[in-house]
Amino acid sequence: MPPAGYLSSAGIELVIEFINALFPEFTDRFELPEPSVKGEKIHGLRMRSGSDPRNGVLLIGGAHARELINPDLLVYLALRIGWSYKNNLELRFQVGPSDWLGGKRYTEREVEVLLEGLDIFIIPNVNPDGRTWVLDNYMTEWDWRKNRRDNQDGTFGVDLNRNYDVVFAEDIWSSDDPGSDLYHGPEPYSEPETRNVRWVLRQFPNIVGLLDVHSYWEAVLHPWGHAYNQTTDETMNFRNPAWDGRRGPGGGYREYIPEIDLQTYVDRGQKVRGGIAAVRFHQYQVGQPPGTLPTPTADTARDYAYSRFFVGRNTKIWAYTIETNQKGDFCPDDDDCPDNLRYGYSPRYSDARDVMEEVSSGLVRFMLSMVCVVREVGRGIGPGILGELADFRDVMLRSRRGRGWADLLERHNDELLGIVMGHPALRKEAEAILGDAAKVVIDGRRARPPVISARLSERIDGLADRVERRASEELRTAIQGLRRDLQSVVGMTAREAIGELLEPGDGSYPSTTNSDGDTAD
């Protein structure tokens, strides 16, 4: 028999301990630096096998107290992943006794890639006080959304997912009224629960993916939340003071997002949607909040995580919100439907279990898309050499063409990973080529540095041929472009190649590697 109901905040904490005790060799339980406003300690779970550097992902849930499904979902998923990894089992998500009517299986190898290729951080219950409040007073307070700060004016609570800072000062799509359900707090990060999430992103600069789990709407949402996106006017952005005070509704403001980022967001979102839909055919919408949700959303964890790239010299984080569960279709007749079941925040637990099953599949799909294909291929050549390659990549990112390469790799990372994982011989050849390319880079500091040889170029061409045969049309086109660039640097040293790629005006673009910068918060 599966579990029969929602866990309390204390129960979630005990489950984190339980998972850590079951799998001590590849999980750590960590305490967030600040307790909740009511003094509750908050813990997260870190899952990783091995200690070599790798990309990280952060999954958070429970920021909105009434959305009871999501903390349960995240600890359920953590236990399932750990169990599959420990016992070398495939990870299967299905809603019935068998998967003949739908279901999604992730292979044992994919489970290995999750834990050996990623650093997974999970904070299942960001807002423990709010959840306790809802569960203790459910009949009247089932729709409580905020934390439990005493606002000292007879009202309580701050909406944690309006307390980050992107366009906070603009006061749009949130409220400065402490009594409002959307109260954004007196200032950005006024709440310890929000500061905890920010701390994780600052503390672990390897995090490249964030997924904030909310309810309800059956949607996979990407930035930006506060305005419709546009990809043509770089000056129309949240940092430009010329737009201050003019970003509100009806003013024609559109937020800039680089086109390749938008394409990547949509592609990855579609993959998450596919992972979800495979389980019981629910088709989540993919898009940005304006146009997908009833209202835009401002100053959320998702937008904050992505915005850091544009403000400091921070890692680009691919950040999404998932709105789990249906938009209130449980009761077709509006007037006879119990309120707490009409909305998708705390459905009957039997329904919630189905939601957990399908969304878990989507979250695994998301995490797999965050595994770095270069690190995965190069695992055999050692972290030191990979580190040297990463440094070289950072130098290359000063050039427009170099950035183009990095963007294309990022955009097609998931497809490349699938191709490489599915063909061991091809992976082996890729690893060998990566090792030889690393030598050109590392030995480039010698008095007589090696050059990018015609032989190496031919081998790369051969590998590219094999990848292209298995690639989508878009990836094929991208690979052909890279091959042309490569031809132009054959016979050069690594340093000369960089010189060849650099163009006037290059050199000021933010690196995708982390430094100490952060948003102006």
């Binding site: 028999m1 866990l7 129960g11 489950v15 009871l68 399932r80 835009p296 938009k327 119990p338 707490n340």
Partner: protein, 102 residues
């Protein structure tokens, strides 16, 4: 830790708000209300559903919006909960069964 604060929020009501055009819709949406859905009622007009206080209803009405109040918000069935012990026992039984299946 139990939060001993007595519930003090004003009553909330399930409402439908008629917005006659996009401009009216924007006006409703930027009020910081707990909106649960927006549907196009007919060409160019919208029906907004939400959970709002009596004060907010009065303000909407004062501003010329038609507001249909469905009734006060309350849960009509209790939430299903479980303890850590029940949860972990149930989960482990399921996972052990999965292992035996293999």
């Amino acid at each position: 830790m139990r939060d001993e604060t007595p519930p003090s929020r004003p009553n909330r009501y399930l409402v439908r708000i008629a917005a006659r055009d996009e401009e009216a819709l924007r006006t409703v949406l930027k009020r910081g209300l707990d909106i649960t859905s927006v549907e196009e009622a007919h060409a160019g007009a919208f029906r907004v559903r939400g959970i709002v206080t009596l004060e907010a209803i009065a303000q909407l009405a004062d501003d010329g919006f038609e507001v249909l109040v469905n009734g006060p918000v309350r849960a009509s069935s209790p939430v299903e909960t479980t303890t850590f012990e029940e949860w972990s026992a149930a989960m482990m039984a399921d996972l052990e069964a999965q292992l035996r299946e293999r």
